[in-house]
């Protein structure tokens, strides 16, 4: 038996932090710097914030005798992606007053605000909580924002699924008082493990933990990329229970084959009533068995990959004290959004708005943020963030529809989805300038790539064919690029790896097709393949399936063969 490996540094930080307090309060008071101490930077993630710096400005700051342009990103939890008009207005106001004037709709149905400086962090937190929202556990080694299909068509089922999502979110929210003490001037309380963190304990989880709920046939929330998912099983219009899927994830590291994206395995079925308990127990198994020595190997996907799905199911059933039922049949057709107007069974209307890169902002040509603010002022329904970074103005009563339509018209949003199917099927992560881990552009660059590819799509007559296309600035995979039909993953400035062959419904991983492509090479490489697809695809064949059938890439069965069967030409420049 060899020496036990030492725990990862973050484990010590958590243990010493007295339930996530650390020295954050002291750090906020020191205004000689806009940053926090290394340890506190890790800890505020649990509070929903990341310290960042404007990477566009980095080169010149020292010259001006200034430190890096530090600021904080805040992630606002929106369980199931549903926010009220009031919450929208509050978020919009905060973005204007304290952040960079934009709202980022994330790939996990949350709001992100960027560019909040240290002196404003606390008052921003207060503002968010005043609007009955919070940021706790939006990041950190805990359960993250719980996703839920916002599908408006089957509202009764959606309502039930959403309730499950919100119950799980509540149940798994850390209960430390640190958040209230530091940000909301809550009075200090003595801490004893049981009362403080009955579920997590003082070291919380080995790593982040992600839960979604999908309502087939839509897989918009990409259940296969999540630690734990519930697939709604609907029988004659009613939600009866959920299939349970575990062990999905995207993140990997270039040049480290021990890291890889992995698809979740569907392991069983539970009733609606059992869902919260199942969520808790899956999390507990990972809490107890997850690898706390290596943060690149600590996600649930590796726990399951190492010990096997059967082991996991057996262990889970032990924790549950009962067995999950056998998986029930379900079908996913795609993981995209349905744009434009739909009417639901209660006669309410829903408008799905395309939001490029999920960035809600005003430009002279397109004052979208203002438009949405005006709508929020009169809207009697709610707003729903989709996992594809888009926005649904939902539950518009028939008497309000005309008014909302007029505003959409006025602010140029009425035609938001009259774009190529390719663009409507795209996702770009934040990347530069705020993301500290970005190796290349994504949100600021994908639109240009799309414009160039759209020419090819036009020529090839593919204007209306949806191909999922996603770009991330690094292999952490925040835009879930490894399950899209076309995936760009940054390797360096203007250098992208091109992955092909992902499943149109997010049910299959892609494979590396070419390495280190720049803008021109991306076009040259993809154009012939797209033309080939247009000519030789079979009836209803998706692009991801076509490239495999045509031998451009080998199919990837599961995470552990993601790095195998890569064609030599892929890596030879």
């Amino acid at each position: 038996m060899s020496e036990p490996k030492p725990l990862a540094a973050n484990e010590g930080i958590k243990t010493r932090s007295n339930y996530l307090r650390g020295t954050i309060a002291e750090g906020l008071a020191d205004l000689s710097t806009g940053s926090l101490s290394e340890d506190d930077q890790q800890l505020i993630k649990f509070h929903g914030s990341y310290q960042q710096d404007d990477r566009d400005l980095r080169p010149d700051r020292r010259k001006h005798r200034l430190e890096k342009a530090f600021s904080f990103m805040l992630r606002i939890r929106v369980p199931g992606g549903v926010a009220s008009s009031g919450q929208w207005l509050a978020t919009d106001a905060i973005a204007e007053t304290y952040a960079n004037g934009t709202i980022k709709l994330t790939t996990r149905q949350a709001f992100q605000l960027h560019g909040i400086i240290k002196t404003n962090l606390k008052r921003t937190m207060k503002g968010i909580n005043a609007a009955a929202m919070d940021t706790i556990a939006a990041c950190g080694d805990v359960n993250r924002n719980v996703m839920c299909n916002p599908n408006p068509h089957l509202s009764s089922v959606h309502a039930a699924a959403l309730k499950t999502a919100q119950d799980i979110s509540c149940h798994l929210t850390p209960s430390t008082r640190a958040y209230h003490e530091i940000w909301l001037d809550g009075e200090k309380v003595e801490s004893s493990e049981e009362e403080i963190e009955p579920i997590y304990g003082k070291t919380y989880l080995p790593r982040k933990f992600k839960i979604t709920i999908a309502v087939p046939p839509s897989n918009d929330v990409d259940i296969f990329a999540n630690c734990l998912s519930f697939i709604a099983i609907v029988e004659d219009g009613k939600l009866v229970g959920y299939n349970v899927a575990v062990g999905g994830g995207m993140g990997m590291t270039h040049g480290n084959e021990a890291t890889f994206p992995r698809l979740a395995d569907v392991i069983g079925y539970c009733t609606v009533e059992q869902a919260v308990d199942v969520a808790e127990k899956v999390l507990l198994v990972q809490r107890d068995y997850g690898d706390r020595t290596d943060r690149k190997h600590s996600r649930l996907k590796y726990t399951i990959n190492d010990r096997g799905v059967d082991w996991f199911l057996a262990e889970l059933n032990k924790y549950l004290g009962y067995d999950l039922e056998p998986v029930r049949p379900y079908v996913f057709t795609d993981n995209g959004d349905r744009f434009g107007w739909v009417e639901d069974e209660n006669g309410n209307f829903h408008y799905t708005l395309y939001v490029e890169g999920g960035r809600v902002t005003d430009t002279r040509e397109y004052p979208m943020r203002t438009g949405l603010r005006e709508i929020a002022k009169i809207h009697d329904g709610d707003f729903r963030l989709t996992a594809n970074q888009n926005l649904i103005i939902a539950n518009i009563s028939s008497k309000k529809r005309a008014e909302v339509e007029a505003l959409l018209e006025k602010y140029g949003m009425a035609q938001s989805h009259e774009r190529s199917a390719l663009r409507l099927s795209s996702i770009a992560c934040v990347a530069l300038p705020t993301c500290g881990l970005a190796l290349a552009e994504a949100e600021r660059y994908l639109p240009t790539v799309l414009t160039e590819l759209e020419e090819t799509m036009e020529d090839a007559g593919l204007r209306h064919d949806s191909i999922t296309i996603r770009m991330t600035g690094c292999p952490n995979g925040c835009g879930r690029p490894f399950i899209s039909e076309i995936g760009f993953v940054g390797r360096g400035p203007d250098r992208y790896n091109l992955y092909l062959g992902g499943g149109h419904a997010g049910q299959r991983l892609s494979k590396l097709y070419r390495q280190d492509l720049d803008a021109a090479e991306i076009r040259e490489t993809l154009s012939p393949i797209l033309h080939h697809y247009a000519k030789e695809r079979t009836e209803g064949e998706h692009f991801g399936d076509f490239v495999i059938r045509s031998g451009y890439v080998a199919a990837t069965a599961q995470g552990n063969d993601f790095h195998r069967n890569i064609k030599p030409e892929a890596t030879q420049g």
Partner: protein, 604 residues
């Protein structure tokens, strides 16, 4: 031609050479003797002085940035040479009633703020305005220093002059009001005032001939006024190399604040933290162009810049004259030249408000466009203008930390007014016209009223928002170099934390090395409500008061118009609150801080 190494500016060398060749051998012989006698312009030849019976004379000055003080010393020297028994007194050290014992009095005082006396002369001025004395035996004359670009020109001098008259004293020579180029006017005033005073003046007049010759040569204009004065001064600045220029605001800012490093190597100039550096600018080409266009002149016309010295108009406008700052005196002269009704009305009493509004954001060229649409002859144009004044900048470096260097923190003045992009002469001369490696004409302007405590152990509190932080960079560097014994606390403020935190990385280093003990910052535009340094003082009330109780010195530097008052108010409030005592107590407390030099301000 004079040798390169002669301590004169190129302009001076040229004009001197011209003069000297024009002299008769006799004149040169006389001049040589005169100068070597260590005397200066307007002074009576030393030989004459001894023959004067000695009349007692008191020279009383009030000074903020040292000009009046230097003139007082210079006057004393001249008066002694003219045979007077002279004493020099600072208004800071006397009360009006002390004047009871004085027979002959010369007053030299400047005006600050918006017509206020110099900080240290405030009590004297206050008392004078309040008390009614009877001083029938007193004979006096006043020389008032000021700046015509301020509305209350020479106000303090006028006050003192009027009060002395009210006391029944005799004005033996009329008050002389001086603009920034005060040397010649002061020399003439002094000469005549000395004449006007009793016996010694007989001797004085003997020297009159000499005086005449000299002053028509206007050597005083070349800074030889006082043999004691430093070789390098406003009229004869040192050409310091610009070693480094750093923009202190980050991309995204609305400000433009520069850090300049200038070499003093070989100048023999020395300074202490708290001193200011005088910068002698030239006007920007486009501004010269603008004026020429307004006056409808080519610039090739030859003009006389001072008696006997001529050059092309364009050069004169660039190097010698203030061609932007508009003032009542310029408009008055312009009125006399043009007989413009519009202008006459503007200048008339009932037009007072319109007059202020008119001056705001306008330059001389605007006035010429408005009131002399047909333009002006070169001679008339020049007759409107005053000499181009130097500007002072608080020194931002400690000589202990940067040997043979002087650093400045300068905000570029740029604004848009009346349809034009406009700029400050000196700040943008430094920002736009001097390249790294180029030369900047500078001199050191001592400021005895802004000094670190004698003991390095005494705690210091420094309030310096914006460029007001400059002298505190010097203070903290100095304390650091001295082994940073005493505690130090800096209050800094500006518009935006991310872009305008001047010298942020340096403060971080000073905090790490303990040269700086505490740092509080206030940024006004990072949140909806405005936060300024005075708010931080109030927030820190308790600790601030305990520092003061521990003997801390309290320094304020920067904007005079609002900041200094607000900080003063905040200080009073802090003392009132923490002492649990009355407002009156707080005021007395602060008065005492001033008297004991524990409350010092360098505001502009």
């Amino acid at each position: 031609m004079l040798p390169e190494h002669a301590p004169f500016s190129p302009a001076q060398r040229q004009s001197l050479a011209g003069l000297i060749t024009s002299f008769t051998p006799a004149q040169r012989f006389w001049l040589g003797g005169f100068l070597s006698a260590g005397a200066g312009a307007g002074a009576a030849p030393a030989a004459v002085a001894s023959s004067g019976a000695s009349t007692p004379l008191t020279i009383l000055y009030g000074s903020e940035s040292g000009n009046s003080e230097k003139l007082a010393d210079l006057s004393a020297k001249k008066a002694k040479q003219a045979g007077f028994k002279t004493v020099v007194k600072n208004m800071a050290d006397v009360t009006p009633s002390d004047l009871g014992k004085v027979e002959n009095l010369l007053v030299i005082v400047s005006t600050w703020g918006e017509g206020d006396p110099p900080e240290t002369a405030t009590p004297f001025h206050k008392a004078m305005m309040a008390e009614t004395l009877s001083l029938p035996k007193l004979r006096f004359s006043v020389c008032a220093l000021g700046d015509t670009s301020y509305v209350n020109f020479c106000q303090t001098g006028k006050d003192v002059d009027a009060r002395l008259e009210a006391y029944g004293a005799t004005r033996i020579f009329p008050r002389q009001d001086c603009d920034l180029d005060y040397e010649d006017l002061h020399a003439a005033w002094l000469e005549n005032a000395l004449k006007a005073f009793g016996p010694a003046s007989a001797a004085g007049s003997n020297g009159g001939a000499g005086v005449e010759v000299i002053s028509s040569l206007d050597l005083s204009g070349f800074g030889l006024g006082s043999a004691a004065a430093a070789v390098y001064d406003k009229k004869n600045p040192f050409q310091g190399e610009l070693l480094e220029r750093v923009l202190l605001n980050g991309e995204g800012t609305a400000k433009e604040t520069w850090h300049y490093e200038i070499s003093l190597e070989g100048s023999g100039l020395s300074y202490q933290p708290g001193d200011a550096l005088g910068v002698v600018p030239v006007n920007a080409p486009d501004v010269v162009e603008g004026l020429l266009k307004a006056a409808r002149l080519k610039g090739t016309e030859t003009v006389e810049i001072s008696a006997g010295v001529s050059k092309p108009l364009a050069d004169a406008l660039r190097e010698d004259f203030d061609i932007t700052a508009l003032s009542r005196s310029i408009l008055t002269k312009l009125g006399d030249l043009t007989k413009s009704k519009k202008l006459a009305k503007l200048l008339s009493e009932q037009g007072a408000d319109q007059f202020r509004d008119y001056l705001w954001g306008r330059w001389i060229a605007d006035a010429i466009r408005d009131f002399a649409a047909k333009g002006l002859p070169a001679k008339d144009l020049v007759s409107l203008l005053r000499k181009l004044p130097a500007r002072l900048y608080s020194i931002a470096s400690s000589p202990l930390a940067h040997e043979d260097e002087v650093h400045l923190t300068v905000a570029s003045v740029r604004y848009h007014a009346h349809g034009l992009d406009r700029k400050g002469v000196t700040s943008t001369y430094l920002a736009d016209l001097v390249q790294k490696g180029g030369k900047v004409p500078v001199y050191v302007n001592e400021n005895k009223n802004f000094r670190l405590p004698d003991s390095a152990d005494t705690p210091i509190i420094m309030v310096g928002p914006g460029t007001g932080v400059a002298p505190f960079r010097a203070f903290v560097e100095h304390r650091g170099a001295q082994g940073n014994a005493g505690k130090s606390w800096l209050f800094f403020g500006d518009q935006r934390y991310t872009y305008d935190f001047l010298y942020q990385t340096e403060w971080q280093d000073h905090l790490a090395s303990k040269a700086l003990t505490k740092l509080d910052v206030a940024f006004s535009r990072d949140q909806p409500e405005k936060i300024y340094v005075q708010h931080k003082l109030t927030e820190r009330s308790k600790e601030l008061y305990s520092w003061l109780q521990d003997g801390a010195h309290f320094y304020v530097c920067g904007d005079a118009s609002r900041m200094a008052q607000d900080v003063h108010e905040a200080l009073l409030a802090v003392i009132e609150k923490e002492s649990g005592n009355t407002r009156a107590f707080a005021e007395a407390y602060v008065e005492d801080l001033k008297k004991t030099k524990r409350y010092q301000r360098d505001v502009y």
